[in-house]
Symmetry: C2
Subunit: 582 residues, 2 copies
Amino acid sequence: MSFNPPVNSIMYLLRYGFAMDNLRENVSEDIVGDELVSDILNGASGFARDVLAPLNRVGDEVGAALSDGVVTTAPGFKEAYKAYCDAGWQGLAAPEEIGGMGLPQVINVAVNEMLYGANMAFGLCPMLTASALNAIIAHADDGLKSKYVEKMVSGEWSGGMNLTEPHAGSDLGVLRTKAVPNDDGSYAISGQKIFITWGEQDCSENIIHLVLARLPDAPAGSRGISLFLVPKYFVGDDGSLGKQNNVKAIGLEHKLGIHGSPTCVMEFDGAKGWLVGPENRGLACMFTMMNEARLFVGVQGVAIGERAYQGALSYASERVQGRVIGGAEQASILGHPDVRRMLMDMKTGLMGARTINLATAVAGDLAKCLADETERKQAHAREALLTPIAKSYGSDMGVRVASIGLQIHGGMGFIEETGAAQHYRDSRITPIYEGTNGIQAIDLVGRKVRKDGGEAMFSLINDLEKIHEEASGMDVDIIVSLESGIRVLKLATDMIVAGDDRDVLSVASAYLDLCGDVVSGALLTQAVMNGQKANDPQASAMQDLLKYHALTLLPQAQSKLAQIKAGADAVFTLPVSQLADL
Amino acid sequence: MSFNPPVNSIMYLLRYGFAMDNLRENVSEDIVGDELVSDILNGASGFARDVLAPLNRVGDEVGAALSDGVVTTAPGFKEAYKAYCDAGWQGLAAPEEIGGMGLPQVINVAVNEMLYGANMAFGLCPMLTASALNAIIAHADDGLKSKYVEKMVSGEWSGGMNLTEPHAGSDLGVLRTKAVPNDDGSYAISGQKIFITWGEQDCSENIIHLVLARLPDAPAGSRGISLFLVPKYFVGDDGSLGKQNNVKAIGLEHKLGIHGSPTCVMEFDGAKGWLVGPENRGLACMFTMMNEARLFVGVQGVAIGERAYQGALSYASERVQGRVIGGAEQASILGHPDVRRMLMDMKTGLMGARTINLATAVAGDLAKCLADETERKQAHAREALLTPIAKSYGSDMGVRVASIGLQIHGGMGFIEETGAAQHYRDSRITPIYEGTNGIQAIDLVGRKVRKDGGEAMFSLINDLEKIHEEASGMDVDIIVSLESGIRVLKLATDMIVAGDDRDVLSVASAYLDLCGDVVSGALLTQAVMNGQKANDPQASAMQDLLKYHALTLLPQAQSKLAQIKAGADAVFTLPVSQLADL
């Protein structure tokens, strides 16, 4: 159950992927040079392979334990976390002025895919730290920043995101945790939060919680929620750690997967916190970092999928069973057409989803570095548009691929010791957290497509059409499939823009899937063309995957159209009373 | 986490489903009368709901334990098994002359869907008994039959199927377990078998193992395997139980799901056994009952899917979160379009797969009861053709539906206590055991379609075309989608019949999926039409599901065609050396 991060595949996409040329033209060679990127990826790969991957199984089997409010993580996690901080991985994309390396997000995504693939449960801790850190950088006052930011960039202190309450999951507007002003400018936070990833643990020296709560006079609903910073241990003006705040873990969830990641029930009992951002604007402050977290969940999907793929490929290469066509001797099942088909399904799907993840990150980088403000805004709109697709398509692909990986193992796949089942279990959280994939689809059709009258989506489609035009010399199956896919996406987008709310929401998920298949197919096409232009020897293998994509994934676009046309009728016609047994 | 078997849905399909009229014309009213069937289904439903369903969770949590070769099943299983036997469920479809009720297989399938839905881990024990019993009835000599059959029909003695060895899974031809003749006509069986479902347990009084092994002078490969009956406890001529045979469980697998079902490593150490069927014909003897077991796995897929659906529907009805369109108050998520969409995906997919299961069983019944030999043979060919589709489509659908069910629960779905995760775990074995779905696809294209030049498949397509013709007055979306699906199936079948081995095997799974979508759509169409003719008030709800099928599942047929046309190239072009990281 070793894991070798797919450095070559990722490097290829960083060299030839969508808009990477644009990024290279607009940032310093110092941070996107081929040699530097290669060094970083190989360094991360080694760390992922040697330090994190070996702990994946013990994380699953032993998991985290809670006793008297103290969480003990699985053996080896604490040491690995220290090594992670020492190597400086946490600050890869953080600005240099606060102690980070200032690298583009796209490289951060590439690195994190490796870390998640090695050990997703572990990787969630840094992810939460990054989310909390982003919110603090964007919205906290200078006093809070100077106290907390540096230690979080290094990872010495981790972050926790305390949003969900039992009755307030996808709809945070109804949450009840209270924040009462103290005399000293701080607030007393009281309430219970659930599903708090790495909310309590023994790896970092301190945990900086961001907590959504209501001020006493706050308006009802989502416009009455504020964001607070609540440290586990108080921090003195000299940066020293003081006594523990009134926050503790009172429960650990018994989950299907990611056992290595402690998912806590957190109790805030008059815990002292400080306001981050304006009063009653907590949800808006949270949303500024939501895009990044959502992208990283899409990355997790691909990451676990990659690990499941490697496990399946290794098993298929070693498992001798039956004869291949025309062979007299028993052979490994890798030669069996249906096993090869499953491996192609996995590898192609992953490469496609990976292109979307990287394209989303690049759009975010361009939104920061482009000189022209209009172009920056367009890049930002592109990032916003691609984010729900990256999150959903990547996470659904991860689950699908993990399931195929288990299948390739046959009966052994169902036995826990084999490891394939863990990927099947771990991956299943990704379509759920950071906004369920259904919420992503609503976000896509609502905020990202209809709100601007389809402008950002038609701009993307325009880019995809350019790719198709450039690709005119390619294999005809690819051209035809891509053309048909883009046409369907255009038709469907017209319907989404013009449709009424109920129709559009009823087909939002089908539309998102369609976007994923078509966009990934087009982005893969461009990566192949760019590689061919550069005479890269890997372009040929990438084209084989593209061809398989054109034969299996792109054609699914067409099959979504009838459903999208039908709108709400198809979904709501069956009376509620008939939903149970007829 | 209660469970109410879908009696109305199943009754509807038994009344109006494919070929049910033919069955009713050819068997006695005594065994297919509406009142009798309704009584049986309601009886089974009550048993499933009240006795088996409440044990599903403890089966998962506590599971089975092995100590000194003795397996103890989860609390309550032993008592439930006794109640199962006392009620006579085991003998439902067994011939009356050996103590069964002699009911058609289609009713047995209906009943078992309920039992599996309530507690699949439990249901595997009766399933294995039925498989072993069928083999004994078909192939054992009268002495063995008179000793073992009656107690197995009652369920007092259960059956075990000992096929797999560590190096011999899908390819049984290479198994090594030995059978050495004793002086008294019996054989001494020695070897180790793995993945033996209910191979050892404390529910039944005796366990009658069927074991595949090699005689000393047997030819190599699959033509040198014989079948033996090996009882756990010896049986005296008076039917009394004697001492234990040299067979015991030496390990229990640590599985992803179906924890309530003990999956044993069995050791035969010179265990005494008796030959069943001719020497070296063991695999052929096994195959005579394989069809039934495979169908029942497809039934398990639908069964778990139904339970997952009920859990999701119940959660969606109770979980208040967010507002529905146009609503001012918080409402249950059942009103959210994307949640409703997921429920429709689940319910429609299940109903479609259920029609295939029942049609497969009816074909088997007709193969026995039709007066005309040619028609019997055709019915048998139809059963053989539909079996791999029923197995794969039903099991894949079960996994898919269980995953959607978990998704509807949001974060709660990932918490084990909610129960949704158990369905996701349990269902995952069904695409694997009784021949992986990849093997089913090979069976479909090879033995079932190409061997007879497509005769059985074209005969089925002919029936589907008749359904389409009759349906000309229906909703245009349904007609168009069905017509297109049947056309694609015909085209694809031509390719399967004419293609070369490697091409056909490379696209076998895509072809099987295509068959499942098209056949289920057509069979559902007929069930709707028959219900409409009878003015059944439920026909309207069934038509809503059919419409949804026509918008979401049938259109996927078209998307498979490019892949099927491409054949082996698409799958094999990427060099083996490039399968790992580029």
